[in-house]
């Protein structure tokens, strides 16, 4: 299976991002180039503080590049759009809305009729395994459950692309494994283009069709890996461990 034959959804073309602040100019992303294809699960992988989140924000349109351009479905990104959903590092649920109202938020602001958006929201609530929690407020939910709501909220708006920014970074190891399985299952049943940011090699290999290893600050592509292991993947399969060792070693090189 060659990726080149697939439709290109995201093109990151020679993108640079400099932050201007009191301490001076800070180059975070340096002439970055990569493509993401339709329905592909791409993991942006790299050491902490390497600017992965910035790259994701550039794709989502929450930040604008200072050089080059991000093109999504043939159109240059100039701001956030409902066609690009975000799942954040910390859960950013609307604490004043219950689970149902959180999940249906996207369709709601787009003016989808109540009955229709309720039905859709219910589908995604069921999909992430939160059936029965529709009326609960986020404060009453555990971290893992809150992140599920966040995922359902992103999917419910039916974006073309879903950006996930270390969504499980704050969860305990056990919950993390569970959530990785969930995401694997959901992305198998709901085909979407996913860009997933993590600094956890295991998580990257478990989920990705393709892993893009990023250089430390300023960010640029260091290496790419196609992951062709059968799903659901086994964390302790020899191929899995081999790839993990390779990626970890390469990551150490980017730092050193």
């Amino acid at each position: 299976m060659t990726m080149e034959k697939k439709k290109t959804v995201i093109e990151v073309r020679d993108v640079s991002k400099t932050f201007y602040n009191r301490e001076g100019d800070h180059l975070v992303v340096d002439h970055l180039n990569f493509n993401v294809y339709e329905n592909e699960f791409v993991v942006l992988f790299g050491p902490g503080q390497c600017g992965k989140t910035t790259v994701l924000n550039l794709i989502a349109g929450l930040e604008l590049p200072t050089g080059g351009e991000v093109v999504v479905n043939g159109e240059k990104v100039v701001g956030p759009s409902p066609s690009r959903g975000m799942v954040y590092q910390t859960t950013n649920l609307f604490m004043w809305y219950n689970v149902m109202k959180n999940v249906e938020f996207g369709p709601c602001v787009r003016g989808v009729k109540k009955a229709e958006r309720r039905k859709k929201a219910q589908y995604y609530i069921d999909l992430v395994g939160l059936t029965g929690f529709e009326k609960h407020f986020p404060v009453k939910l555990s971290g893992g459950m809150q992140q599920r709501v966040g995922i359902a909220r992103a999917y419910c708006n039916e974006p073309d692309i879903i950006c996930m920014d270390e969504p499980f970074g704050h969860l305990d190891a056990q919950t993390r494994y569970l959530m990785e399985e969930e995401v694997d299952r959901i992305s198998a049943s709901e085909k979407r283009t996913v860009v997933f940011v993590t600094n956890n090699a295991e998580e990257a290999i478990y989920l990705a069709d393709r892993i893009i290893l990023l250089h430390n600050c300023p960010t640029s592509v260091h290496r790419e890996y196609l992951v062709n292991l059968p799903r659901p993947r086994n964390y302790v399969a020899p191929e899995f461990l081999e790839l993990r060792e390779q990626i970890t070693k390469d990551m150490d090189d980017t730092i050193g």
Partner: protein, 261 residues
């Protein structure tokens, strides 16, 4: 009975006891030890009798206690509602729209530190001692906390929540009504509570200075006539009204402020 309910019950008893102890100390100091003469600090039983009498008696200030309460309540509500209806939207607008902030903020910062009570002489010379001057003082003391809390509540809206709303395609107004205002609600409510408190303070102060009816007027008349029992009836009435208002706010808050932080 569950352990939780048992504990709650015990705490209630303790609260009840503290009131009883307060009354007992008061009684012992006045009726038993006679630390103060009865005309300056009467004992609780006398005060209770005065309270019952005052419910229907117009002596010595020309109105019964319910009439005084109603008069004060009317003015407080008029000023308070005006202050809230103008203050909260203005505060929200200041927090959300930067040009409104730029225009209103300088005037507001200038008016904010003026204690409402200091306005009493100005208001009395402007409007006399009728309802207008008092309503204006209460309006002033209410509008300030309403603006301050709404403004800072909106200002404290999490940037990431706004980002979330934007990535879902929410317009500026939708972001205001689905994100900024709901997240500011606890703060706005705190402002409304503070406003209620200061509006009563302002009112009683205004009535002490000039009025023909009202709880403050009742207290100041009683002082002139050395009727300490009626002064204390007035004070306890104010305390009681405070409790009732705070309970009403609790109910409204449970209904409207959902989910917590």
């Amino acid at each position: 009975m569950s352990t939780y309910k048992k504990r709650q019950f015990r705490l209630r008893i303790v609260s009840l006891l503290s009131i009883l102890v307060f009354l007992a100390v008061w009684y012992v100091c006045t009726a038993v030890l006679r630390l103060a003469p009865a005309y300056s600090l009467p004992d609780p039983i006398t005060v209770f009798q005065s309270f019952v009498t005052k419910l229907s008696s117009r002596v010595p200030d020309g109105a019964t206690l319910p009439q005084h309460i109603w008069e004060s309540f009317k003015i407080a509500m008029a000023g308070y509602l005006m202050g809230v209806v103008i203050g909260v939207p203005l505060g929200i607008a200041m927090g959300w729209v930067s040009w409104v902030e730029k225009i209103v903020r300088p005037v507001f910062d200038f008016l904010k530190p003026i204690p409402p009570i200091a306005l009493i002489p100005v208001m009395i010379t402007l409007f006399g001692i009728g309802i207008e001057s008092k309503a204006c003082i209460i309006f002033f003391s209410t509008v300030i906390p309403s603006i301050v809390n709404s403004y800072s509540g909106i200002k404290q809206t999490s940037q990431i929540h706004l980002w979330v709303a934007r990535t879902f395609g929410a317009s500026n107004l939708q972001q205001l009504f689905t994100v900024a205002i709901p997240s500011a609600l606890p703060m706005i409510f705190a402002g409304l509570r503070v406003a209620m408190g200061v509006s009563w303070m302002g009112l009683v102060a205004a009535e002490l200075m000039g009025a023909t009816r009202g709880i403050g007027y009742m207290i100041s008349t009683a002082r002139n006539l050395l009727r300490a029992d009626i002064i204390i009836v007035g004070l306890l009435t104010l305390g009681f009204i405070g409790i009732v208002i705070s309970l009403v706010f609790d109910l409204i808050e449970i209904k409207f402020v959902r989910g917590g932080k």
